[in-house]
């Protein structure tokens, strides 16, 4: 998971893996790289995801760049109430192109914090249309989400799985074992689950 600092990457991940929400004042900033594993059912098939949650500040990229290597999916997050975080997406795309080694990496663009839309102090600065148009131009998937209200969160991750060819199609063809050979981090997956890695 990548994107500017404070866009809610860790909160999205926590909502996805633990269905939990912490008030903003309860959450410590991510320093370096965080990590979670989630097993999820998609179309009656179990997938095991290893998800890396990276610190958003630019200088951490020397640290986080190695996590792009071999990633099967990337979730890029911006904050719909922070124009800057949307404007910086180009930089994040460059970053991804530079470091990813997987030409088939699935990219998902997520506009987070839509629950704040309409509230007084922090209204939306990036419309859904703008987000969609940008995603289309960059050839990525697109979802708007709220880690707080759960909206769109599971979709963001499930879509990535569904669009990951070496995972989904092969597993659909009952070729789960083959999928395991492209699994990352040299994990030995012995439970018949398909593995995937996201950052």
């Amino acid at each position: 998971m990548i994107g500017d600092s404070g866009t809610g990457k860790s909160s999205l991940l926590l909502r996805f893996t633990d269905d939990a929400w912490l008030q903003p004042e309860e959450v410590a900033a991510t320093i370096g790289v965080d990590f979670k594993v989630k097993i999820i059912d998609v179309d009656n098939k179990k997938y095991k995801l290893t998800i890396w949650d990276t610190a958003g500040q630019e200088r951490f990229r020397t640290l986080t760049s190695s996590y792009y290597r071999g990633a099967q999916g990337v979730i890029m997050v911006y904050d719909v109430t922070q124009r800057d975080s949307f404007a910086h997406l180009e930089t994040w795309f460059n970053e991804l192109d530079t470091y990813t080694t997987n030409p088939l990496v699935v990219k998902m663009l997520v506009g987070n914090k839509i629950d704040k839309d309409g509230s007084n102090d922090s209204s939306r600065q990036v419309s859904r249309k703008e987000g969609e148009a940008f995603a289309k131009r960059m050839g990525t998937l697109f979802v708007e989400s709220s880690a707080k209200s759960r909206s769109g969160v599971i979709d963001a991750f499930v879509e990535v799985i569904a669009e990951t060819p070496e995972l989904y199609q092969k597993t659909a063809a009952h070729a789960a074992r083959a999928a395991n050979t492209v699994n990352l981090d040299q994990q030995n997956n012995q439970s018949g689950e398909s593995g995937g890695s996201c950052c």
């Binding site: 410590a28 320093i31 200088r59």
Partner: protein, 449 residues
Amino acid sequence: MESHNGITAIARHAAITTTAPITTAIKAANAPRRISSLAASVAAGKLDGERFNSTANFSPSIRSLPVTNIASDDFSVLKRINEINAELAATNLESDRSFPPNLGSETTLASTESIAQHHASATARQSEKEIQRQQPVSDNDRQQITFFESVLSDPDAADFAKIKFAPLVKARIRSGSGIPATLRRRIWLWLAGANIRTHAKPVPNFTPNSRFDKIIRQDLGRTFPEHPLFKVENGAGQKSLYNVLTAYANYDDDCGYCQGLSFLIAPLLMQDGMTETEAFAIFVRLMEESGGSSAVDPRRFALRSLFISDMPGLHLILHQHTELLRIYLPALDQSLSVLGITPTMYASQWFLTLFTYSFPLDLVFRIYDLILSEGAVSTLLKFSFAILRRNEPILLATAAQDNGFEECLNILRGENVLKVYMGNIAVLIEDALILDSVISDSNLETFSA
């Protein structure tokens, strides 16, 4: 009836006596950013007395040090230097170690035991130690306070970097519960040379920094979010944190603000009476590239290189940690490498926050004591290596399991890595401090490639 009451009274008295250090320990330990299992058990009333007692009472090397010879009334630091240094030299600091420094040939704690057995026998060993080490804590604390007060009031002790009895001060900081909490602010300032620096002291400029203001503000509420000093939005703690971070960003334009720095400054501001200017002065000293060159003051801090663009200092210290594992813990190094686990995944957070991110504060303050008296990088590596070494048996066993990758990472990340110490941080400090001969600034230079 009377005698019955008498017994009750005695029993009550005994209970109060035993819980007194527990309260102290809770105060010190019970302020992590996330609700820790520790805090949760306190909240639930399931207080493990032995665990807290052990944290408060346990004094690994106090007996080895010549503390009892110092009386408050006739104390004169300079008069006693030679005598005490001689005693120090004669004292076998390596005695009574359950974890010998002989890294190459030792038998590991649990290599032939199951993890459960390891834990059980470790507990038994611990209890024995507790009994052996029963001694009046208040005496130790009083002696530490007397010592450090004498140091602070000694006109010849103006500059820690130049005093002859620096080895004695270092030994005192290593012993018992380290610098007394009530004196920490003053001793830290003294160790950092932050109150007496001869060169022009940087005057903090609290004007908002245009480049970093937004991200600094954003992180204020995300730094120790559960600590009473920092949890209130725009409260005193957050304001001070904002000011010190801003002053530093203004002072050091190349570094500016980097995430992690707020976690590094917060423990300074937690000390009673610490002003923003004082915290800033200590912080500047910790970040400075200079130091370590003089034979008089071999301490090196230079934390700045961990935080500037491209983070060269962080990559170097991660490399040094990796090399230490490869050379001294080859089996563990091999197992983790096979799983694809690199130190970046667990140790970058340790180094970037000086272990403040998820470790209990009483431990964090001890680490700060040691960093300020002995240097930053070598101290950080002693702790990171000691932690890995103590966790080696459980990590090797876990690595062999089906989900070795994530289970090992779960052990290595956050507070879980301290479970093996069962709340007894003194053992961790002891583990780290016996590594002097292995991890020193000069040894580390060989890993600088």
